[in-house]
Symmetry: C2
Subunit: 386 residues, 2 copies
């Protein structure tokens, strides 16, 4: 295996854009990534696309938008970690010398009916009779509310501590022009917003939205020809959960513990070395629990970690400088690559007002499918370095 680097990253601002065709969204993000990489689209040898609901053959149609055809093109669906799955296959294809330059795109238009006649948001609410757990209310907000309740019972974590995660990420989002929402809220406003699933209030839940993001991947050796700021991929780990493992205490996503341990070992770094993290804060609770699962703080101390401001600017590590899923948005198939885009830009030092000072090691944490039967879902951890 050879070393791999990202040489270009791009994304469109997330939002609700039902008339922005998925292939065009992906194409626009792809062209931006190619422009940053400084290479022509025709240099791309394969395209890997993550998406859950705007298929079929979306990678091929994205290629059509950027003016490329006749190359291998793969479409990946791993629920909310779809484009992380695409990235991992792209990474492997370059690491193993199969391709020199590949494009990875994450795309989701959750609000559109224009291609398939249905929206990608559909699968988030299963029809009655599809699954006994969802029939009884165990949908995404409930899954994470229950995880939060378990954490509260075990470690004395409070509803205010979960809400502080949302307060931080909303604060970060104000400086990110690519975020779906760029608005600050007080802790009180967050706690008093509409209750969705106790203790989760509305401002602690990620929104429905549309978006696309892309990165250009090549070998470390090629990278030096194109940029003075290559970002090297030190580990790309993807695994699935173990059936019913998350039903056992303590409150954690065990797949995250396993995947991050493997990623740290592969990359030769520890949690203390990480400067910037883009983390799958689909709900505020997930971020707090992931502080512990990722080893950023000891088990049970996620509440203290947010209380002391250790996951914000000036803390031990900046988590979700982009505003995270809560504010940047979570167009499902776009999220994994959008996290990489933010971390790559942070390591390149091009983030302007939201720049994490002296960022040298970045990590993305992207989960997919914790809902009904979701203990079998996907967990992806990627570690990059300057």
């Amino acid at each position: 295996m050879r070393d791999v680097a990202v040489i270009g990253a791009g994304m469109i601002q997330f939002g609700k854009m039902p008339y922005y065709a998925p292939a065009k969204m992906g194409g626009d993000a792809g062209l931006m990534a190619l422009e940053q990489a400084g290479i022509e689209p025709t240099k791309i040898e394969a395209t890997f696309c993550g998406n859950i609901g705007n298929s079929p053959n979306l990678a091929q149609r994205v290629n059509g938008e950027i003016g490329v055809s006749g190359i291998p093109a793969f479409n990946h669906e791993n629920a909310c970690a779809s484009s992380s799955a695409a990235f991992r296959q792209a990474f492997q294809s370059v690491a193993n010398g199969l391709h020199e330059y590949v494009l990875v795109v994450g795309v989701e238009n959750m609000t559109t009916h224009i291609e398939m006649g249905t929206t990608s948001a559909g699968p988030l609410v299963l029809p009655h009779g599809a699954n006994i757990e969802s029939d009884n209310g165990r949908m995404m907000p409930a899954v994470f509310a229950l995880l939060g309740r378990q954490h509260m019972a075990e470690f004395g974590t409070t509803a205010e501590q979960f809400a502080k995660v949302a307060e931080k990420n909303h604060k970060h989002s104000v400086l990110n022009p690519y975020a779906q929402y760029q608005k600050m809220f007080t802790l009180e406003e967050i706690l008093e917003s509409r209750m969705v699933c106790d203790p989760l209030t509305l401002l602690q839940c990620c929104p429905i939205g549309d978006g696309a993001a892309a990165v250009v991947v090549t070998s470390a050796e090629n990278a030096k020809k194109h940029t003075t700021k290559p970002v090297f991929v030190e580990a790309s780990v993807l695994t699935s959960g173990v059936y019913k493992e998350s039903a056992e205490g303590p409150a954690r996503i065990q797949g995250c513990v396993r995947a991050s341990e493997e990623a740290y070992e592969t990359a030769g770094v520890g949690p203390d070395d990480v400067d910037v993290v883009e983390l799958h804060d689909c709900f505020s609770i997930h971020e707090l629990v992931a502080y512990e699962d990722l080893g950023l703080c000891p088990k049970g101390e996620g509440g203290r970690f947010i209380d002391e401001g250790l996951s914000g600017y000036g803390g031990e590590v900046v988590v979700n400088p982009s505003g995270g899923l809560l504010c940047k948005g979570h167009p499902i198939g776009a999220t994994g690559v959008a996290q990489l885009v933010e971390v790559v830009w942070q390591l390149q030092g091009v983030c302007g007002e939201r720049q994490v000072p002296d960022a040298k090691v970045g990590l993305t944490h992207n989960g997919g499918g914790f809902g009904p039967g979701g203990e079998l879902g996907t967990m992806s951890i990627t570690i990059v370095k300057t």
Copy 2:
């Protein structure tokens, strides 16, 4: 890269089974493949699943059915070539030494509403306004009828010659207990069945159906420990079309010409060496044109090839001994792996009454997405040897 082999293959009989859950279908096919391989499910290190409409995280749910979890699991969507895309990634992962034993599953339940509230058949008929070509009737039967008309104009091919493809495949299907339809028809019955899109009559169009198929892939070296009949994968090529290339004469699918040339070169064999082919006969016309695109006969001589019985038992090569998509059925995501299952079984010599004598080299031809904008679709060619 190291040599790769298939050591187990399994499938369920295709048919219309709306209450057979997709994960269970995939699990049953997977268990059959594992049993043939003689290995425990827990030996599997990663699962690759092809599917277009029963997502999300189907590979993980198939794993749940076979009693495996906590491993990398990937879901692939490449239209009708979805599980060939899954197979190609699985092949690469073993060839590059990332995994020792992997499972590849193709699944589609086109008739069920039980998981997603919609059927996988939905995407085949785009909603009005989705695409100007499909709005004007250029759906799958029309795409291939136009290709057939072009072939008739250029080479004098007749409607009877296309119908003879269906006559042959229906005849083959009678001996395949896994086929959705196992019924013989006369040439007259085929030609006089309901007209779908001139010259395509109903019995020359593949049906809607449900099914699953699976193969176990490992290194050639491992294979020898488990079976006396390993089937070696000599080439697995996947590419996409070139925009509008199929609009240019002569009548052919140019992506097939490119992919098969690459596959023959990689495998070190030529068309004359191939004993058995599972070919993407979604419509009779596609099979006749693919004889030429695959180099089984010279350009323009597909009509003669079927007239002289050269693609049946006793001919130059047996094409679609399974009955093909026309009769075995075409549950979209299942097809690519189901083609491999048939070819593997033929090379293992376990096909009973439909056994191709002395089959040593097999080829699968699986296309995905020739519809509106489908010139950008997928073409996959795999070559296997005893």
